[in-house]
Amino acid sequence: MSQTSVLDELELDALTELVNLGVSKAALGLREMVREEVILSVPKVSILTREMAIATLGDQEQRRLVAVHQDFEGEINGRALLIFPEAKSMELVRAVVGGDLPLEELMELEQEALAETGNVILNSCLGTIANSLQRSLRISLPEVVHGDGAEFFSLSPAPEAGDSVLFIYINFAVRRRDIQGYIAMLLDLPSLVTLKSMLGQFIERTGGETLPTHSHGV
C-alpha cells in the first residue's frame, strides 16, 4: 500500500517508542488498580485500511468483545480503545473493585468500573504521548460499547469505504487473574501528515545531534 510511505522507518520507530511509553505508564496505573503485574506485548504499529484493522482484531479474537473508547481531538484526531473479551470483563471489574462483593453488585458496577478503568488507562496513555509530543489533546469521556471491531473502529463522521487508518495495538494480560485484552489506537490519514512533523521534532529532541557511531552490529 502506498500510504505506508507516509511515515518513514525512523518515524514509525519513534511512534512505536511513544506508544510503548504511553502504554507502560498506563500499565503502571492498571497494576495499582488490580495489584498484580500487568504483562505487555511489544506494540505493533501499522497503516491499514479500516477493513484490515477490523479483520486484524477479528483474527485475534472470535469472542464477543467489550470496549471502552475515548476520542481525542487537537492537531491530531482519533480514537483510543481498551478492548476485552466480554466474558472476561467481570473478572476485570472484580480485580479492580476487590473480590468480596456478591455477583449481583458486581454486575451493577460493571459499566461504571469498566468506564473508570478505561479512563485511567487511556488517559495516561494518551497523556504521555501528548506530553512527549509537546502538544495538548482534548480527550472525550469514556464510553463502553459491546460488539466487535466494525463497531469499535467506526469513527464519526462516517468514514469513506477503503480509507486508511494508523492502527496501533498491544496485548496486555494479568496472568494470575486470567485477564487479557488489547489497547488499540486509530488515527485518520489527514492526522498522519501532522503527526509526521510532530514525530520529526520528537526524533530531533530525543536522538538528534548524535555523532556517527563506531558501531558494528545492526
Partner: protein
C-alpha cells in the same frame, strides 16, 4: 578509562537517545549496538563489553532474559535494564538479574549515575 558499551534496543531511536547521552557523558567510549538479544549475544561472544544497557520490552528474548544470559556468559559486565515499564515486579527482576534499572525515557542524569557507580 576508555571502555566498551553495548546498547541493545529494538528501537533505533532509543539507541540514538542512549548514544546522545553517551556522547556528552563518555565521548571516548566505544559503542556497539544490537537490535535484539541474539545479535547481542553473538557480539558479546566475539568481544566482551565492559558495560551493557538493555531494553526490556523487545521482540524475541526480552532484556531481563538477556541480562541473565549475559551474567552467565560474562559475569564481569556491568548491566542496566532500561524500560518505561517500571512496575515493581520488573524492577525487582532486573535487580535479581544483577542489573540496574533505568527508567525510559532515559535521562543523561540517570545514565551518568549508573556509569559513575561502576567506576568508583
Amino acid at each position: 578509562m576508555k571502555q566498551t558499551i553495548l546498547i541493545v534496543d529494538d528501537s533505533k531511536l532509543a539507541r540514538m537517545a542512549v548514544i546522545k547521552a553517551l556522547s556528552s557523558l563518555r565521548p571516548d567510549w566505544t559503542r556497539v549496538e544490537a537490535s535484539n538479544a541474539d545479535e547481542a549475544l553473538a557480539l558479546v561472544k566475539q568481544q566482551t563489553p565492559d558495560v551493557a544497557v538493555l531494553d526490556f520490552n523487545m521482540p524475541g528474548k526480552d532484556g531481563l532474559v538477556l541480562a541473565a544470559e549475559l551474567r552467565e556468559l560474562a559475569p564481569q559486565i556491568r548491566l542496566a535494564v532500561i524500560s518505561a515499564n517500571h512496575q515493581v515486579e520488573v524492577v525487582n527482576r532486573a535487580r535479581e538479574a544483577g542489573a540496574t534499572f533505568l527508567p525510559k525515557p532515559l535521562t543523561e542524569k540517570s545514565l551518568g549515575e549508573f556509569l559513575d557507580a561502576g567506576q568508583q
